[in-house]
Amino acid sequence: MHDQAPTPAPARARRRLRSGIVTLALGAALFTVGAVVLPPDGHTTAEASRPAPPARGTLGALKDRVRHVPRDAGAWAALGMAYVQQARSTADPGTYDRAEKALRRSLTEQPDDNTDAQIGMGALAAARHDFPTALDWARQATTSAPYNPVAYGVLADAYTQLGRYPAAYRAVQRMNDLRPDAPALARASYTFELRGKIGQAVALMRRSLNAASTTGERSFAHTVLSTLALQSGDARGARREAQAGLREAPDDSALLEARARAHAALGKPSQAVADYRAAIAVAPLPHYLLGLGELQQSLGHPQEAEAQYAVLRGQEAIRRSEHAVADTDAILFEADHGRPSQAVTMAQEALRTRPFIAVHDALAWALHRDGRHREALGQADRALALGTRNALFLYHRAVIHHSLGDDAAARSDLKAALSTEPHFHPLHAATARALLQRIDNTP
């Protein structure tokens, strides 16, 4: 045996210093840099080896916390991030302002190296579709914390929407090298989906589902898997996947929409309508409204369709009054059900801050509807440049080819669209089949 280690007398002399000195100090170490992370399930987790105890209810608990401990930069960042997540799922824009307020407060409390607030600001900018700003915050976050996988997630999302795909893939790779967890695997899956490699996209999304630790992550994975099944012409699989998600999260609007589309593809329009309505009751997002409106139109219910379109027009009026940038749903709606020249203007404006393939596609379609087929083709090519297997993009380009008199190219795009997803759109799928037949019957 070795020498005895020193043996202090237990300090029973309770010199009552101001109590808590100890622990306070430790707290200081823990929270000086104040990193509290909020998983979607609402636990605040001190970014130390031990998370803080879970609280009852995400926002409520965090609001309590910043009320009691208003100088906790980490708690403010977590609250801001919680608002960002909430805004995504409820589409209540007032929430964005609350998110920004909390995140700014966090940055005031801790201006330097506040990675969580930087991540939150980046995610908030992305949710508002301000991707240049999102990129700026993401870069700050990866600089302040070069080993933080979440920072690379924000970076990857921004690069993707800015059309800088190789940079996005590199960021996703880095994120997965650091921690291949559910959010990282979901992004890896998306890089393959963008490149049209559906097999790998499905395999990685299955892994993401298996690695998921929260309802939100699992719902997201089921939604994507349902969509990928639909895009492979497997409507039954799509319905099964959506149903699996809804068993756990019956009010998840994205899952309800996924099941609605699967029902529609399976020839069950009334169930599809019911699911769309349920999704819209949760969050009246434009693509739900557009999906339901066009489904109703295809079923010969012009009044019901018009009711959805009216809401879309109301949303569009609000958007214009706010000078916000249009989303692709609004552009396609304007092109198909409004003024194509206006849709072109909207798309060109959107492309300036968001040169993503979906925006190129929306601009292509708007240009075509406005009679500018030659320009439209250039945009349609860019929308499909990554090799994405997207039936709607392919259909759009097919129609543009046809307008330019190139029926061979139109035929090949139509076949690709219909073999990818036979029921890709309530109205356009039938048009695609008819056009293919016309082309095939043209001597």
Binding site: A29, A55, Y147
Partner: protein, 521 residues
């Protein structure tokens, strides 16, 4: 942007558009009104979840001690998934079947694992049609057909670059559902303890979280209230544990634990990587996503900024991350204590802390006047190979103490932290004393003697392997509603057990379901 004016303006726009649109729109105007500006952008670009947390992969604590009832062996315990809410309605916790759980042992001090034990878990669902049911009736054994969801594991030993399966298809102790479903959980726990060839034992399953501390104290820095100090904020929660009892000679350098009694221990979790794009570099190998050796290492040693990096490093790389090493020699914590409370911070560089965390304690290693647990004490260790590396170091030659002191070595009880770590060691109080220099001076800092006022775990530990207390069954966060829900679910279970097949049907309609839900709802 002023929200109110914006809202008023959009309201005007809206009223106007509704006039234009006519009655068709009136029906839906209510939902439009709830849509202020951002909604038209709240879609169409893929927003995958960002921040999730990975509790099944995140190490919480590691313990290493000479087995008190079997002193020729060492017990190693590692925990994951903190804050498991018992009965949290209905709420069950499983190990990840897509991760690898490791306990690593470095016996020559080079920062590289010489002996690695790996748990690889698999899920088994008896009735796949009803795979969301955890159990379909009363569970009296691990092979009970009523246990619908089960986990088994293979235990793999890696030595000298060669891996072999020590034992396969070992059953895991399930989440403790409650007294009605599992009337004798202790029996299930015992069935999950399996013997290994050569005299060892392995266990995996749910347990009471042995870590005890008042974590609310961390709020103090921001002006929180101290009046409620002294409540174990981890009381009542469960964790998922793996544990091993291994003869000392299996772990010691050259198999000789009397010549080479010191081992370094840490635990890691790996997840499989992904190849996103073609490149010459392979990215799809297993990646270390979590690591833990000494308790509270992030609080005392690793600056927050490097926490993510630290999780990915092997101990032999620690010395290459200069900011981390610098922090060991010059920690923030004592300065804060001095600033806030006037207790003078010990002089730097803190070679005593470097001993505790990076080299182990020996007379030749630094200022602490004892030969306790440094790799240098291993007679067959090559001094040239030994590097500073953060590991939990245990001198296996120190005999177990009959009456363990919660202050461990600082109270003269050499069989406790920082010489290994026992379940009863008070990690927070010891770490604080160490950071204030007590290990070097040999005197406890009286101002800190109260610590967090939580000195023991909320339930006693067992006297034999795996020593962990059985999991709790009572919800921690059960308000009035929580209790009600709990009663209902136990009713459902008992009726299910009484009613046999009918009961199973009832369960299917919303009884026990296998899912790890938000534990806070």
């Amino acid at each position: 942007m002023k929200a109110t004016t914006a809202r008023r303006r959009s309201r005007r726009v809206l009223d106007h558009s509704l006039l234009v649109l006519g009655t068709g729109a009136l029906a839906v105007s209510v939902s439009v009104l709830t849509l202020a500006p951002g909604v038209s952008q709240a879609s169409s670009h893929r927003e995958a979840p960002l921040i999730a947390g990975d509790p099944r992969a995140d190490n919480t604590d590691v313990y290493a001690f000479t087995s008190p009832d079997k002193p020729d062996s060492v017990t190693l315990v590692a925990n994951w998934i903190p804050f498991e809410e018992p009965n949290g309605g209905p709420n069950f916790y499983a190990f990840a079947d897509d991760a690898r759980y490791n306990i690593k042992i470095d016996n020559n001090g080079d920062g590289v694992s010489d002996v690695t034990y790996t748990w690889r878990f698999r899920n088994q669902v008896r009735d796949t049609a009803n795979q969301f049911l955890y159990n379909t009736g009363q569970v009296t054994s691990l092979t009970d057909p009523d246990l619908n969801f089960r986990q088994v594991y293979d235990l793999v030993l890696t030595k000298n670059g060669r891996s072999r399966v020590l034992k396969s298809n070992v059953p895991v102790a399930p989440s403790r559902v409650g007294p009605a479903s599992m009337p004798d959980y202790g029996a299930l726990r015992n069935q999950a303890v399996s013997s290994l060839a050569g005299g060892g034992k392995t266990f995996a399953g749910q347990a009471d979280d042995p870590f005890f501390a008042d974590l609310r104290v961390f709020d103090l820095l921001y002006g929180g209230n101290l009046s409620e100090r002294g409540q174990d904020t981890l009381a009542g929660y469960n964790v998922n544990s793996v544990a091993l009892q291994i003869p000392k000679k299996e772990l010691a350098l050259r198999g000789n634990s009397s010549r080479n009694p010191v081992i370094g221990v840490w635990s890691t979790t790996d997840r499989q990587g992904v190849q996103v794009a073609d490149s010459r570099t392979r990215h799809d190998k297993w990646r270390q996503v979590s690591r833990l050796g000494n308790p509270l290492v992030n609080e005392v040693v690793v600056p927050l900024k490097y926490k993510d990096a630290f999780n990915t490093l092997n101990p032999d790389q620690d010395r290459t991350v200069k900011p981390v090493v610098d922090k060991v020699f010059d920690p923030i914590l004592p300065k804060l204590i001095q600033k806030v409370y006037g207790v003078p911070a010990p002089a730097t560089p803190r070679n005593d802390l470097a001993e505790i965390y990076l080299t182990g304690i020996c007379k030749a290693c630094g200022p602490i006047k004892a030969d306790l647990n440094a790799h240098r004490l291993n007679k067959d260790a090559s001094l040239k190979q030994i590097v500073p590396a953060e590991e939990l170091r245990l001198n296996m030659a120190v005999p177990p103490t009959a009456d363990p002191q919660r202050y461990g070595v600082l109270a003269g009880d050499l069989a406790g932290f920082p010489n290994g770590r026992r379940l009863t060691d008070d990690a927070i109080d010891i770490s604080l004393q160490a950071v204030e220099g007590a290990a070097q001076t040999g005197t406890l800092v009286p101002a800190l003697a109260d610590g967090d006022k939580v000195n023991t775990n909320d339930r006693p530990f067992n006297t034999s392997f795996p020593y962990l207390a059985l999991p709790h069954t009572k919800s921690v966060n059960s308000g009035p509603g929580g209790n009600q829900a709990q009663q209902q679910s136990s009713l459902r279970t008992s009726s299910a057990i009484g009613a046999g097949a009918l009961g199973s049907l009832m369960l299917g309609a919303g009884g026990w379901r296998l899912r790890r839900r938000n534990r806070t709802s």
